[in-house]
Subunit: 320 residues, 2 copies
């Protein structure tokens, strides 16, 4: 099967690409070609793997989209996006990358589906930013989406488009809403939730770090390996039993920042995590540090997974 | 103030235009210019009114959009759309008219808002088709939207875009979800819910008519005058007290087809409505004839209105 990953140089995209190179039958059938799309090839370029083909370019360029999809695709993972904080500062770029690019991609895949009669599978990395402000009470996967940043609004609109094209039989989409995936490299910019990842690196090295949210701040966490498993699982779901909505809120590990730091302390020693100070920034904490518990019975019934607890999270993140 | 109505030759658009010509201060300040936009001017072209200026063209043409918005707009009513059934049959046209046209319109208005510092008001005619299939239990304005036709999906996506641009202060949008507005002229094609309007004309003339849903079928009804009042009310809402979502499900008159026919019988005589037969078509009834009651406390609190009962509906529709 022919598989495409957009955003393949990113943290999640590259993790998925590496996984599929090691397990080329992870999607149920052997992958004959894994097309990796991004502005540039990642450092972990996977050059040694025969199935890999990098096709670098800009998803906002229609000519590049045509090139990327010049042969029928069996499964496309759409992970490319402009991070939320950056998209707020650069609204026109956010519009192009987070809205028109996935729309144009979806339309082209839909046209392929109509021509071949085989709707390509599309796994879309949506986001918990679709919800907007959540109250302190327990949330649910059925919460009404009221995005408070354009990044969330654009992802939500793309979910709706993909569900509609799936209903028409043009694509076979599965959107999953991702929480904060850790531990993103410190070089990745534009994520307001960067502190969630930095805690891991600082604890590992013992460097001083001023965390912009309090220990009591709560977030939804997921390790990269757990996220990759969920992406693969989404691609493998049987088309015949999917709900019309085609969207799942992934189960998450709901934990306080202090609990994660404690788990990091058990792994790296109290001395290392003792270098972490907490100076809450209201703007960051209100957006990324006040997540209530969330129940996701439908996602669990469909076989999606969360990291079990903070120790498991740390072990997965650190590749223990 | 400078006001624009798109879809000004349509049933609702022309009703609104006529109302604003008769009451040019209905929006709170005098209208100095009422720009009417559609593919062609309506028969009721309102030529005698000094404030009216027709600018005919195709909203899917960017050059026309630029022309339409060549001067700063204070309030734009976006009513133009391709009806749902037609959009299902002509998906590319539906995409252009119901998705990219409002997006481009919103972007241009947003640019105007950024340049002038005065975000233009946008009243967007959304639709109850955003909900998709509703169960038999009472629905609410907070029901999760799961559109079952592209028309509904595209309207929902536009609501989300307008709320996001409002949050950014680029436009000042108010989306209202319209039920079936009666009585549309029989010449308007593409509406699967055409039977709701035809009942009125057939009862008035006493012509035989085979209604494609049963007397027990339930629908959400609204007269054109009530709809126009709600559009005007939406435009007048105080910006300072609007919720972030910027969407209201209008209150509706929930009534069985048989109840409306009875009211028509009281108005036109049992002989006239005796010519109406009922031969339910499952496809039409499942989409347009099984609406549960709906509660809309938020819309009522904001001052939106429904027709009081079936007799009031008939009187309003027939201009009594």
């Amino acid at each position: 099967m022919r598989v495409v990953i957009t955003g393949a140089s990113g943290f999640v995209g590259n993790g998925l690409a590496r996984h599929l190179c090691v397990q080329p039958d992870a999607l149920g059938r052997p992958i004959s070609r894994l097309v990796l799309a991004d502005l540039g090839a990642a450092e972990a370029s996977l050059a040694g793997h025969d199935i890999v083909e990098w096709r670098c370019g800009d998803l906002t360029d229609p000519a590049y989209l045509d090139l990327l999809l010049d042969e029928p695709v069996d499964c496309l993972f759409h992970l490319a996006s402009l991070p939320g904080s950056l998209a707020e500062r650069e609204p026109d770029l956010g519009w192009s990358v987070n809205l028109t690019a996935p729309f144009e991609l979806a339309r082209r895949l839909g046209r392929q589906g109509r021509l071949t009669g085989r709707p390509p599978r599309v796994v879309f990395a949506s986001t918990i930013a679709v919800y907007g402000p959540l109250g302190p009470e327990s949330a649910s996967e059925y919460n009404v989406a009221r995005p408070a940043i354009s990044y969330g609004a654009h992802k939500l609109m793309t979910e709706i488009l993909l569900a509609d094209l799936s209903r028409r039989g043009e694509v076979d989409a599965r959107s999953i809403r991702l929480p904060g995936i850790v531990a993103r490299p410190a070089t990745e910019s534009g994520h307001g939730s960067a502190f969630m990842s930095l805690l891991f690196y600082k604890a590992a090295t013992g460097e001083p770090y001023v965390c912009p949210v309090a220990q009591e701040a709560t977030a939804w966490w997921m390790s990269l390996p757990c996220c990759v498993s969920n992406l693969v699982h989404a691609a493998r779901l049987d088309s015949a039993r999917l709900p019309a909505r085609r969207v799942w809120q992934l189960p998450v590990l709901h934990a306080r920042v202090g609990e994660v730091v404690e788990a990091l302390g058990r792994r790296y020693g109290a001395g290392n995590v003792g270098q972490i100070a907490f100076e809450p920034n209201e703007a960051i904490e209100s957006l990324f540090g006040r997540f209530p518990p969330i129940v996701t019975p439908e996602a669990l019934a469909f076989g999606f997974m969360a990291d079990a607890d903070t120790d498991a999270l740390v072990a997965m993140v650190m590749g223990d």
